[in-house]
């Protein structure tokens, strides 16, 4: 009998390690022949720890399992969810990037290959640099880290650059609240990120790669480091990648708790051992990046999506999506929501469908008040904008942004003035200090919102002006986009700003 108990940190945070230990203990007592596999998560976080049992009839799910459930689980008396692949949540997805996550043993390279792994890299090895770059371009893949820049164009710039050394840098800083796709794939299917980076290396002529992984993710760091060692032992990394005659190797580097280091130039400074201040562009990192050399900086999900593009073909990927948003979006549904987790689907589903239909509405059962999409720099979307389709341009038209595709749901108890204040406070805490509108403006922003709360009638106009200054005078999106959550809160939820005023009068 095979039993899967996730080792994903969300599952662990909900007791998966205790459950795995209880299963091992109980099986030993009973003398049962049980193989426990620690997989990634399937993404249904509300069901974690989600245990799967295969006693010869496929993988049957149980969740959320507690250690006390284990005797019944092994007796076959515990209520099951049925075959996991047949659950609505799974069947409604288009799992391309996350096809293996939760399915395989994350550190078993053979299991990885048995599920389509390395097919993309093998295909890329047979292609020229220009063909690799064209394949990525044709897939329509855009950066999943936030800005949505076409990945193929970035790779072409680096590929065309002439230098003695080039680099692939994976941005695994994932600082945005409401996002965990990077963490999930690194913990649940790390080889897909390594494979994506190797293909990038072949595509642009880079032989060295780094994953800049935030220190807040110790579990992901452990899994990635173990995976790199295995990949090296098995010849997936090293001087002769899968016998291609071409070299690519990589290292995992740990961040140090600065949100701004997710910004690519700040990240490069940090990787070089400097303060994580933002660099002015140009020069583009693609031309003068890590150590001043041409560098691809891509988000985890961008790179982890590359293998399936090469395995199934650019066209297959590009056939999914909406408008200029091609392929799938890895939605992370979080906050006050009944069914939180990761849901991968073609771009195009509306925000309302995601929150109400997929997410099942709020956890509290109260009405939804707002959804912050795209992290702490993303706008608060009111229910009146629930018809907005998930797409880069579509969100932009509605004054929002998709960012890393995290959605944080708030119910009617949320105080939007407090959320606006928090956005300013966060910007003040995390500012790299390079530009005055960000460094000083965010502090003023907190003060101004406090004045609104205290009933100062002129303060709202002042806040609006301040946001304009931050937007125009900031070098990067930390200062430049903090006005999104602040102004969306102010304009979409004026009552939360007015009541405070009236209360004070």
């Amino acid at each position: 009998m095979k039993i899967w108990v996730p080792m994903d940190s969300a599952a662990k945070a909900l007791g998966a390690d205790d459950v795995a230990r209880a299963i091992a203990r109980e099986a030993a007592v009973r003398g049962l022949d049980v193989q426990i596999i620690r997989n990634g998560t399937r993404g249904m976080i509300w069901l974690e720890p989600l245990v799967e049992v295969d006693a010869g009839e496929g993988r049957i799910g149980y969740g959320a399992v507690t250690p006390a459930d284990v005797p019944a689980l092994l007796d076959g008396r515990l209520n099951s969810l049925g075959p996991v692949d047949m659950l609505d949540w799974m069947r409604r997805q288009t799992r391309l990037t996350f096809a293996r996550c939760g399915v395989i043993d994350p550190l078993d390279l053979d299991d990885y290959q048995a599920h389509g792994g390395l097919a993309g890299l093998r295909r890329a090895i047979a292609m020229s640099q220009a063909e690799i770059v064209k394949e990525v371009f044709d897939s329509g893949l855009r950066g999943r880290g936030g800005a949505g820049f076409p990945t193929g164009i970035k790779w072409r710039t680096v590929s065309d650059a002439v230098a003695d050394q080039k680099y692939i840098v994976c941005n695994a800083d994932e600082g945005d609240s409401g996002t965990f796709a990077d963490r999930m794939i690194m913990e649940g299917d790390p080889f897909t990120l390594i494979e994506g980076m190797a293909i990038a290396g072949l595509g642009v002529g880079a032989t060295r790669g780094y994953v800049y992984l935030r220190s807040e993710y110790p579990d992901a760091i452990r899994v990635m480091e173990a995976a790199v060692v295995i990949a090296r032992q098995r010849g997936m990394l090293g001087p002769d990648v899968l016998g291609s005659g071409r070299a690519f190797d990589m290292q995992i580097r740990t961040g140090a708790g600065a949100y701004v280091c997710g910004e690519e130039t700040s990240l490069l400074n940090s990787l070089e051992g400097k303060r994580g201040t933002v660099r002015a562009k140009p020069p583009l990192p693609a031309l003068e990046g890590f150590m001043g050399k041409p560098t691809v900086v891509n988000n985890v999900i961008s790179l982890a999506t590359v293998p399936v593009i090469f395995e199934k073909g650019a066209q297959h990927y590009a056939d999914f999506g909406l408008g200029r948003s091609r392929g799938t979006v890895t939605l992370q549904i979080a906050g006050n929501v009944r069914h939180g987790g990761l849901f991968e689907t073609a771009f195009g589903m509306t925000l309302g469908e995601v929150v109400n239909d997929i997410g099942g509405g709020t956890l509290s059962g109260h009405p939804v008040k707002a959804v912050q999409v795209g992290g702490p720099l993303g706008a608060y979307m009111p229910v009146s904008k629930f018809d907005t389709p998930m797409g880069y341009e579509e969100f932009d038209q509605k004054g929002g942004l998709i960012g890393h595709a995290g959605l944080v749901v708030f119910d009617d108890t949320a105080d939007m003035l407090q959320m606006a204040r928090f956005a300013m406070e966060f910007c003040a805490v995390e500012s790299c200090g390079k530009c005055t509108p960000c460094r000083i403006g965010a502090v003023r922003g907190v003060e101004t919102i406090d004045r609104i709360a205290n009933g100062d009638p002129g303060a709202a106009a002042l806040l609006t002006d301040l946001c304009e200054t931050m937007k125009d005078g900031s070098l990067c999106a930390l200062g430049g986009f903090t006005p999104y959550p602040v102004m969306s809160a102010l304009t979409q939820f004026p009552d939360d700003f007015a009541t405070h005023k009236e209360a004070a009068e």
Binding site: S177, T179, Y217, T254, A256, A258, G273, G335, Q372, G406
Partner: protein, 162 residues
């Protein structure tokens, strides 16, 4: 001020000890952050004595090394409590009552953010997202993740009476 417990008198490590800890990283491209992490791993903070050693090894000014250390939230200039509790303050956790839970924990321990209990047992730090946003409010105790926390759960984890 109670929350500023007298820091356990940490003997300042000798330059040679520091050099031994960071030497394995000399060959890396951009070795400073890995070195600082290694130092903090050993001593629980980055001792002042590390600054001249690192400056010398990496051919940097002392001010530069100090500037790097002070930029990052992770690096401490004095030791933390025996256990480090990080509580998420970010939006997804706020949406499920994280602010109230965090305040209750701080109140029970009688400390403020970044504070250490008078007996030196626990330091509480804010963290902005642990990637546990679908099972918040979230915390991390000595590197171990905990989801759907409340003040009682944290008290139980810390072994402090309610």
């Amino acid at each position: 001020m109670l929350e500023h417990a007298p820091a356990p008198a940490a003997p300042s490590p000798a330059a040679e000890e520091i050099r031994d800890v960071v030497r394995p990283f000399m060959g890396l491209e951009g070795p400073l952050l890995p070195m600082l992490h290694a130092i903090q791993e050993v001593w629980g903070h980055v001792p002042q004595a590390a600054v001249p050693v690192l400056a010398d090894l990496l051919n940097l000014g002392r001010a530069e090394v100090h500037g790097v250390i002070s930029f990052y939230h992770d690096f401490r200039d004095h030791p933390a409590g025996k256990r480090v509790l990080k509580i998420c303050r970010a939006e997804a956790c706020q949406a499920v009552g994280g602010t109230g839970v965090a305040q209750a924990v701080l109140d029970r321990l009688g400390v403020d953010w970044h504070g250490t209990t008078p007996d030196g047992a626990v330091t509480v730090e804010p963290v902005y997202c642990l990637g546990l946003c679908a099972c918040g409010p979230a915390a991390m105790l000595d590197g171990r993740v905990i989801g759907r926390i409340d003040a009682d759960r944290i008290a139980a984890e810390l072994g402090v009476s309610a």
